[in-house]
Assembly symmetry: D2
Homo-oligomer: 330 residues x 4
């Protein structure tokens, strides 16, 4: 059994805490949140303990793994402290919004050869994972084009937007990681942002929609489209086109029901509404992979470097969207 602490007991932290609690090889030793009430509630719900401080968590020898789900600005500090305390770290994305801080963090921990995994949950979605495995098995030949559709059901609150780092660092970052997951390293980026949806996002100096095209080191082309609002649910699709075929992963729906009537046929439910529902299996599989890594010492498939690279792509997208120029990343 791997002893865990979950740091950050907001919506997503609580979900992770539940997954830890339900995992047969994990033990939820402690929960911590800067708001002690949140930690207490989570601990009570899951039969765990609420830690009173980070120090208490890090000093607890029963805690072997720290799951960081607190606000983004705390990530690098918590990663560093956890690693230095000898813990394995699972940290929600993004590592940080500032590449220099990310690199500084890494410099301070690299010599410890730490186990740090970043929460790129989509890598663990059964369908996306199957696409990657089938591509790797050669089913469609060399990858030539990847199309990633990623649209949130509804815009975030203005307060969130203000600290989010902007569309590319906050939302597209998952798609950048997916691009790398499916097409490998990216060497060229062209990005276009737009304001089509939410005046308050424009007022905050951020985009609410975007289209990007990229070139991978392999030569493959990648397209991402993003929207902060989507009428039919959380739109999460990928298409990988190769020399001998194509693989698509489609949206998930709560049921398999199709309705046929006078006005329409084959009508299905909305797409599953947001990440908690859409990626429920992925989050469980992500945790399972992390536990495997803790147990075996294997490197996670979404390590610190993946967190850094996705941020680097986000920065390049910002630069390209502003300058109108292609940004080289080689």
């Amino acid at each position: 059994m791997i002893g865990f602490a979950v740091i950050g007991c907001g919506r997503i932290g609580r979900m992770h805490a539940r997954n830890v609690r339900a995992h047969p090889r994990a033990d939820l030793v402690a929960c911590y949140d800067i708001a002690s009430q949140a930690a207490a509630e989570t601990a009570a719900e899951l039969g765990s303990a609420a830690a009173r401080s980070i120090e208490e968590v890090l000093a607890n020898p029963r805690i072997r793994a720290v799951f960081i789900a607190s606000s983004t600005d705390t990530h690098t500090d918590l990663i560093e402290r956890s690693v230095k305390a000898g813990k394995a770290v699972m940290c929600e994305k993004p590592v940080d919004l500032d590449l220099a801080r990310v690199d500084a963090c890494w410099q301070r921990i690299a010599d410890l050869k730490p186990l740090v995994m970043i929460g790129f949950n989509r890598r663990f979605d059964p369908s996306f994972r199957a696409v990657r495995a089938r591509v790797a098995a050669g089913e469609i030949g060399a990858v030539e084009q990847v199309v990633i559709t990623s649209r949130d059901p509804a815009p975030p609150a203005a307060a969130y937007v203000a600290v989010s780092g902007g569309l590319f660092r906050d939302m597209t970052i998952h798609d950048f990681d997916m691009a790398r997951y499916l097409a490998g390293d990216i060497v060229e980026m062209r990005a276009m942002g737009a304001n089509l949806i939410a005046p308050e996002i424009r007022a905050a100096g951020d985009f609410d929609a975007a289209m990007l095209i990229m070139r991978a080191a392999s030569g493959a082309l990648v397209h991402i489209n993003n929207s902060r609002r989507c009428a039919y649910g959380y739109d999460q699709r990928i298409e990988v086109f190769g020399a001998t075929g194509m693989l698509q992963a489609h949206n998930r729906h709560d049921t398999t029901v199709e309705a046929w009537g006078a006005g329409a046929t084959h009508a299905r439910d909305r797409a599953q509404d947001f990440f908690i529902a859409r990626y429920a299996e992925a989050y469980r599989a992500e945790l399972d992979h992390f536990i495997d890594c803790v147990e075996t010492g294997a490197a996670p498939i979404a390590g610190f470097a993946e967190g850094r690279e996705a941020l680097r792509l986000a920065d390049a997208a910002i630069e390209s969207a502003e300058s109108g120029r292609a940004v080289r990343l080689a």
Copy 2:
């Protein structure tokens, strides 16, 4: 060029006349209808001539093929006279509503080894045809189950019902032929009729819905379901289940468009509305096959015997629906 006369210039006769006119190896020499106005209109539309009588049609040596699309009660007489006049005959289904008359007709023409093809248009639908060809090629192993869904968009007029011979002889007859097309000869029949839709059909002593199960000589089981009304269009599907797989042919829609919105996703158009639209390609392919047979002397894949067998199954269904008993047909 094969010279044609079309007899019967109602809705379906006119469609056939247009197909003859458009066929590169056919020449529409004459049109005939007991209502001379209908023949005149059709002839005018298609640059053909309106014959004044059946005799005139049969005496015309330029007419090598007669396409019978007149009312059912005229079919056997017209088949006999056309065959005796040396014409090849393409006759709309059913041959007749009375098996004894069908057999008597055949006895009068059998020695002439006539070319008589019956209008089982569905055999020529590209999808159903592909299913049969792929079954024949062994793609799904031995056929074990066939499921035929056949639902009309709206009930026929009461006047039509009165002379139709009833649901099994008028509507299911196509499905009986499809059953034989896909599963071979039928040896056992159980049928259940219902009145769920149209009071006037009940008043006429007919059913407006039905379910049937049959056993083929091969051992395969066949299910047909019928409804005289279908909210989402003309529902025409088949499923063939075999030892190593399954083939389905689905409905056709006017476009490939899918709509995604707050209430539903993947929503498609209605199914194509009725036989003229749904089987447009099939009717053209049927004519093409008939012309091939006239030119080469080959036997049509839907000959007089197929017309007879489908009627025999309809009679068995009526008997089973009334008696509650399985009817053996071996």
Copy 3:
């Protein structure tokens, strides 16, 4: 927390025990199996206790609910004893293979107004449940036709067939319950069995495939098709056709991936392989419903009467298949 005992720790009993263990309002107090090793393993895996006898289970006041997953021949006895011990009962289908024994069981417990729920898991499948709810909400008007496709991936072992009660009582029984779930009480049955797959099933005097048609009290028609072998997985579909539309529930697949290549497009994974995977969510929802009933005293939606009725339909199907006659059930 509801204290549970699970009786029968075979494959399905163990799955139920795991679900009880994972349920936030249930407590797995004890496991029992006539093979003590199976009970010991299950108890060890789940941190529960292995009971040494039924008596021990029934005498334990902490056990409020008994989950019967032992062999069919033990069901009525265990139901009776559990009810008389004051326990709520969740019992796997079928209640018994003999209608007289089922009725005798009920007579001995009816006065106790027991809570007995029967394991018709499919009622709890999210898609089937949604179909029923949408039908009840009037989305497709009056139900006129129900088509149930139910094909197992591979035939059971001969030893199982011998004690199964035959295809209709063992396999179709789920579909009979689904027929009632979707169309209400059944008043007329016509059934046709076949031997198309497994010589050993024929040798055992059982069928390995079947087609049935039924009439509901409402007038609706119902079709079931069954096969003991299905090349593409566990085929579990329903279609409900009504006056103003149709609802279909389709098979489930492990991923949403579609493959496009030179030979085929839109190709998806196999259907989920068998009941443990296919109905995983349904089994959890079934347990949840049972716990709700225990807590609130509400009647389960699949009570003893549902178990009895499904068996009565199975008997009628056997009679119809043998006699070739429609069997009235009103």
Copy 4:
């Protein structure tokens, strides 16, 4: 009846000639090709006359409409001469490969207020047309994103590539028109070409794959992806995402058949193979629209200006692909 001449009797010219021949309100008066044999064959096949010269065509008062399907370099000259001879003109895309020549052509004919329609056949595809009509009817609110997938089944011959004007002017030009059809005028372009498929295309200095992103005057974003080779057929899809929903038009397949087997389920046929098959209905509808315009004097929905704008976008794409910079088109 509108008298037509078809100029250019290659593969596509012959198809157009057949469509003219089959149209009930058109009369194929003459065919012309610089290779007199091609004109003679087409004329013989369709019962038309082979003109010996362009002059003969233009002098013939029975010819009211000229269908230009000859090589691209002849288009502007033929348009000008035909217009000056008082003919209505239907011209295959592109108008020319050189924008200056296109503009010069227009300057020479503009005062004549000519009827010139350009062969953007996709505007007449039933599914794309339905998408546009439903967008115009407000079904999905304001258009925010358009995704156009356009992949040819196999690369063209090297000789064709050499005179094609390059991927953007030859292939993407259809997609540029589609972008304008669905999102309106384009004001910003970023394009990325690649060489992934055919060494001979690289050798010719052309791309064989591309991804583009554009911004419309409305603010909408548009993505196009292109490939000169596609294993599963001719991939032609569009997706229009709006404020309240999304519409997709999918590929067409020869049949509706789905295959289910041990390895895959829901498997469909290849996509229809290339433009002649895929857009057969569209080409007929395009002709029908042109004839309507000739008869009524209405402006075609794909006039000379549409031909010019698509070429201007192609030029902008070339510039952006080479420079790495966004190109403004306002």
